[in-house]
Amino acid sequence: MKKAIKHYLLRLADSSLTQSQRLAEWCGHGPFLEEDIALTNVALDLLGHAKLFYEQAAEISEQDVSADDLAFLRDVDQFRNPILTELPRGDFAYTTLKQYFFDQFNVLLYAELMNSQYQPLAEIAEKALKESRYHLTRSRDWCLRLSLSTAEAKQKIQSALDDLYFYTPELFETDDQLKQLLADNVMPDMQALKQQWQQQVDQLLQQCQLQAPTSGWLATGGLRGEHSEYLGYMLADMQFLQRAYPGCEW
């Protein structure tokens, strides 16, 4: 079971880290100063979540590894995040909608994980839930602002929806190890979660008067280490110093 838990902790950690890494790209480049600061706060929260998940994964790992080793010394095929979180930051509409999908997912997930039989996970979920709720308020508000304002903004967020929508089912993907964790009450039933998520999303899209696309490439594979081309570039950037100067303290 330890192996399965570590696998799942990495799924959670990698998701938060990659999402944070993309958001952090906005720091210093936001659409206005207040939003620049706010986006960075979200990036910092997510980085904090990632760190907690990695630390727990390192703790139960059979090898002698640190949280940093897990973040900075694994290659693309060892990352477990869904492809959604590694996608480029795009424009502000793309970032906003991606963030909304992720926040809505996290709020539902962490609320369930608080009841996990695996105590360390329950504790991290409790902390992460508080922050994710705030993130969700923000990203929902921004979806509404962009959708119900100018034609230009509406077009941009609709186009983001067209691009992103079929990346979302992957958030709920499971494998044999995760099924075992469900049986052991470590994690919730992702199908049930998916229904709740879909309901919330449909409601918001309706409020926003946005149309979900009817077809597209259905993303899959992150959990197995099968990723988009984007992740390699992200890791090349993120892991550069650790790779170029192995074994150093920083």
Partner: protein, 322 residues
């Protein structure tokens, strides 16, 4: 982070009595508040200095922002993100304080992007190495703190109050920079070289942050009299050098100045001649990164346009439907 030097503004014709009463308030260490009468030249000087200061914070996000995605550990990434975010916050506090003088943030932004307004020359230097994050925190924030602490007592209330908040928040900035340098200086040979190289590149530009030498600074007297400025450029620069040299020695790093020597008689370090030609060139727009920095700000501004517009229209639509 910091604004550089200070330019004077030409005074208009204002009633002698009001001017005298104003100076008396300043002499009595009374704070001037936004709606109080103030000489036009005082207002203009403040707007210029404060907006330069705010612009410096905003442009100052960029050289360090370079390394956010590449920070070597989770902890360093968090610290750097938080620090660069603080700089945005500090820009915002100072823009807010400047707006109380009757200029809008939009106008200040326009002045920055058009090149009319200046910002600290230090941010026009590149940050090619991780050690630059250390050098900037240690030296650039160190120099900024020397400048900013006296500004907490500036005569203009909103400026002084924003500086109090900023100084409080910035206290960790210099330390985290020195911490990066410490780890590098005690690390591998390559890391130590990285640290020394960053010190070599940032030492002189950091000294230039204090502005021209007193003998060449024609604008200081009036600002001193108005208590917008409390110490001369040269005094602050000397203070910075005296504080920093032992910190470099402690790390086993060498300050790149062959004329640097303790002067027993003066009780200060003597130091070499600053290349003021370089300073003037960078201020004029001919530094290594002037174009990139402004282009990055322009791009963010342009790409944010539709977002700001959308937020406003949404608010109007909401009000219309109520």
């Amino acid at each position: 982070m910091y604004s550089q030097g200070l330019q004077d503004a030409k005074g208009g014709q204002e009633p002698e009595g009001l001017l005298k009463a104003f100076q008396k308030r300043i002499d009595n260490e009374e704070k001037i508040e936004p709606r109080d009468w103030m000489p036009e030249a005082y207002r203009k000087t403040l707007i210029r200095q404060m907006s330069q200061h705010a612009h410096s914070e905003i442009v100052g996000q960029l050289p360090e922002g370079n390394w956010i995605t590449r920070a070597p550990t989770l902890k360093r990434k968090m610290i750097l993100l938080a620090k660069v975010q603080d700089e945005a916050g500090h820009g915002l506090y100072i823009y807010s304080a400047t707006e109380t003088l009757g200029i809008s943030r939009d106008e200040m932004t326009r002045q920055l992007l058009s090149g009319e307004a200046k910002y600290s020359s230090i941010f026009n230097y590149p940050t090619p190495s991780w050690a630059d994050m250390g050098a900037i925190g240690w030296l650039v924030d160190g120099a900024a703190i020397m400048n900013q602490v006296p500004l907490c007592r500036a005569s203009y209330g909103p400026y002084a109050r924003s500086m109090v908040r900023i100084c409080k928040e910035e206290s960790f900035h210099q330390r985290q920079g020195y911490d990066i340098m410490t780890v590098l200086a005690r690390g591998s040979r390559a890391q130590k070289k990285m640290a020394q190289d960053a010190l070599n590149r940032f030492w002189w530009p950091a000294l230039m942050m204090f502005g021209p030498s007193d003998k060449d600074s024609t604008h200081s007297a009036q600002s001193m009299q108005w208590k917008i400025k409390r110490f001369s450029n040269d005094d602050l620069r000397q203070k910075f050098i005296d504080a920093t040299v032992p910190q470099a020695e402690h790390l086993g790093l060498t300050i790149p100045d062959k004329d640097l020597k303790w002067n027993e008689e003066r009780g200060h370090y003597d130091f070499g001649e600053i290349d003021w030609q370089e300073f003037i060139q960078v201020i004029k727009g001919n530094g290594p990164c002037n174009k990139q920095r402004l282009a990055a700000r322009q791009k963010a501004h342009d790409e944010g346009e539709w977002v700001r517009k959308a937020a406003e229209i949404y608010q109007q639509n909401q009000q219309d439907t109520v």
